[in-house]
């Protein structure tokens, strides 16, 4: 474990923030206090945290409909995220995007995306930009197991391979695309095997283990930064909540979820590992929990207290300039 105590605590805070953010939203949404549809990231924290821990501020990520975790891990402001989800003017997108379109280009977060697979081409574009402008940045595309069946995935990975773009493709294989199990929607045990089609490395990752994600992401990011081209990482993970808040979850057993929580929970695993390493104490982690809880409560308060957009906002930001 080469990470410093500070970085380990940072990482823990990131994962705990994601978990608490999603648990809080689950409750708020079920109570009818948040508009719209929410896709929660709880359970998959180690993927976003592990990958983003290998990135700098100038690196890019593209995300999905299940994007809160990526935004938090990439450092997007919690208050601004929460306000966005509430549809408020103080939101990171002025309330125009909502949960499915959170973006913060200043943080290299190129957007959640409501189109399955839609962010993958954008990621190779960011990588092309880095390559042509020689900025040294790397781009990461996060997407689900289901998204690997979209044409956009196939075309993008191939292009990235032949142009040797500095990009890492991260499959978050949480076992399902909506209600459809991965064993139904593909005919192969490991999605990482699809790397063969593009002549790039394919890596299977234990996505519930921050350290496995971190190590393998670091290798992939370094490879990309060296100009050697893309890597396809498949992180085996699990989503704790339904596909969306309100999903009756009829397609999987209660036991399945309970077993994952009991045996593979990414926060538990992390805690066990770092505490037993002696680098971080349990009480430090509990203090972090409290800190996170306060930050989330603060974010909710901020969001609720923020004013709604103004009607004039309806017609701004469609174009930079739109007239003769």
């Amino acid at each position: 474990m080469e990470l410093s105590r500070e970085r380990l605590l940072d990482t823990y805070r990131t994962m705990r923030t994601i978990r608490s953010f999603e648990q809080t939203l689950n409750e708020l949404s079920q109570a009818g206090r948040v508009p719209g549809f929410l896709h929660l990231y709880a359970g998959e924290e180690a993927v976003a945290a592990g990958v983003c821990a290998t990135l700098g501020a100038d690196d890019y990520v593209t995300s999905t409909h299940r994007g809160h975790g990526h935004s938090i891990a990439k450092g997007v402001d919690l208050n601004a995220m929460m306000a966005e989800i509430f549809g408020k003017r103080s939101g990171v997108c002025k309330g125009k995007g909502g949960s499915m379109h959170i973006a913060d280009l200043g943080k290299g977060m190129l957007g959640a995306n409501g189109i399955v697979g839609g962010g993958i081409p954008l990621a190779i574009g960011a990588a092309l930009s880095a390559k042509v402008r020689k900025t040294g940045s790397v781009a990461v595309a996060f997407f689900g197991d289901g998204a690997t069946n979209q044409g956009a995935f196939h075309e993008s990975v191939n292009i990235a391979s032949i142009l040797k773009l500095p990009v890492v493709f991260v499959i978050e294989n949480n076992g399902y695309g909506e209600a459809t199990p991965v064993a139904y929607h593909v005919n192969i045990p490991d999605l990482a095997a699809r790397a063969v089609s593009y002549g790039i490395p394919g890596v299977v990752v234990e996505g519930m283990d921050f350290f496995d994600v971190f190590d393998k992401a670091r290798a992939a990011v370094e490879r990309a930064r060296r100009g050697e081209g893309p890597t396809l990482m498949e992180c085996k993970t699990y989503r704790y909540f339904g596909h969306y808040v309100g999903d009756p979850l009829t397609y999987r057993t209660k036991e399945e979820g309970e077993k994952v929580r009991a045996t593979r929970d990414p926060l538990d695993a992390f805690e066990k590992r770092v505490v037993s390493s002696g680098k971080v104490t349990t009480s430090e982690l509990r203090a972090a929990d409290d800190q996170v809880a306060r930050a989330i409560a603060e974010a909710v308060k901020f969001a609720e207290a923020s004013p709604a957009p103004e009607l004039a906002d309806l017609l701004t930001d469609v174009y930079v300039q739109y007239s003769a």
Partner: protein, 335 residues
């Protein structure tokens, strides 16, 4: 016919059951149309339950869950339609047409023509349209002008449960590819629906409200909006006639012109943005074939030329309201 109150989404569901009962070549396919749990009674049956129960009744051979591969699934439906089946494919949200348009634009719509009439493509693509559910810019669009513009496709938009069932059964029976647009904000709307099989013909508009002062043309959710506007207008003594287009292609030009002949004034209400949309299309019809009937300018009430915003206050301002329709009618009559 025995009728009873039934929600819009149930009317869709019932139409699918009846079409599949009558013809073994009718199949249903799409993402989670069965719903992941195979034969189980509690399978999703589509994200909104429109295909619920079909898998239990008709089995996985005819109710086919697909991967998230719209080009593959829509194209597969086109190929199946050309070779003997009558597929009903679900494109969950019409916003997703961008990932599969080629199979509609260049394949389904054109095979018959390019092949000199030797192919037919009895395909239905069911898809949800419209705003109002706080689903933001990529899950709220009203994109039927795009398919209406494509020669070779038919485009249908029901505005109530009765038409939803009858138009869907007509679409499935039709030998051409039909894009069947379901306004998602109407799914919970209830209305009288016959239990039996019946069809509502494609290409025939309905008079949703008879009146003599002004013609309001609308479709889908905007029929409800126009009816609400007509109620306020009636209170001021303005008696609006509302034409519910039901089919955008083929278009029932006669009904629009007949109403215009009665009233002399026209307002077109549409949820799509203004450019190259249905509101423009109907205006053009009236300004050409109906010019001599027109006694004033044609006003359009549409969404603005902007994406659909997330925030409820903005989204509510985005969608045409009864108040805006009333205002447009006043403006049409006053000039």
């Amino acid at each position: 016919m025995a009728t009873r109150k039934c929600a819009f989404v149930q009317a869709i569901n019932e139409a699918l059951f009846q079409a599949m009962e009558r013809d073994p070549n009718v199949i249903v396919l799409g993402e989670d149309v069965a719903g992941g749990a195979g034969q189980k009674e509690d399978a999703w049956g589509g994200v909104m339950g429109a295909t619920k129960g079909l898998i239990g009744r008709f089995g996985a051979q005819r109710v086919i869950d697909t991967p998230i591969s719209e080009t593959g699934l829509v194209g597969m439906a086109v190929g199946a339609a050309t070779t003997g089946l009558r597929p009903v494919a679900e494109l969950m949200f019409m916003d997703f047409i961008g990932v599969c348009l080629d199979q509609l634009l260049n394949q389904a719509a054109k095979l018959r023509y390019m092949f000199g009439g030797k192919a037919k493509v009895p395909l239905v693509v069911r898809t949800m349209i419209g705003a109002g559910l706080r689903a933001a810019a990529q899950h709220s669009q009203t994109l039927y002008p795009m398919t209406t513009a494509i020669p070779g496709l038919k485009t249908v938009v029901p505005s109530n449960p009765y038409d939803a069932k009858g138009l869907l059964l007509a679409a499935i029976a039709d030998d051409d590819p039909v894009i069947f647009c379901e306004p998602k904000s109407l799914y919970t709307m209830t209305g009288e629906v016959p239990e039996e099989f019946y069809t509502v013909p494609l290409g025939k508009a309905a008079v949703a409200r008879a009146g003599g002062s002004v013609t309001i043309v609308a479709c889908g959710k905007m029929v409800e909006t126009s009816l609400a506007a007509a109620k306020s207008l009636a209170a001021e003594g303005i008696d609006a006639e509302i034409i519910d287009l039901r089919s955008l292609s083929p278009l029932d030009e006669d009904s629009v012109l007949a109403s215009l002949g009665k009233t002399g004034y026209l307002v077109v209400v549409d949820e799509a943005p203004p450019r190259c949309g249905i509101a423009a299309d109907i205006s053009a019809l009236a300004a050409d074939k109906g010019f001599d009937l027109l006694r004033g300018p044609i006003r359009r009430v549409t969404s603005p030329h902007a994406p659909v915003p997330f925030s409820p206050v903005l989204e509510d301002a985005y969608i045409p309201t009864p108040a805006r329709v009333v205002e447009a009618v006043h403006s049409a009559l006053e000039s």
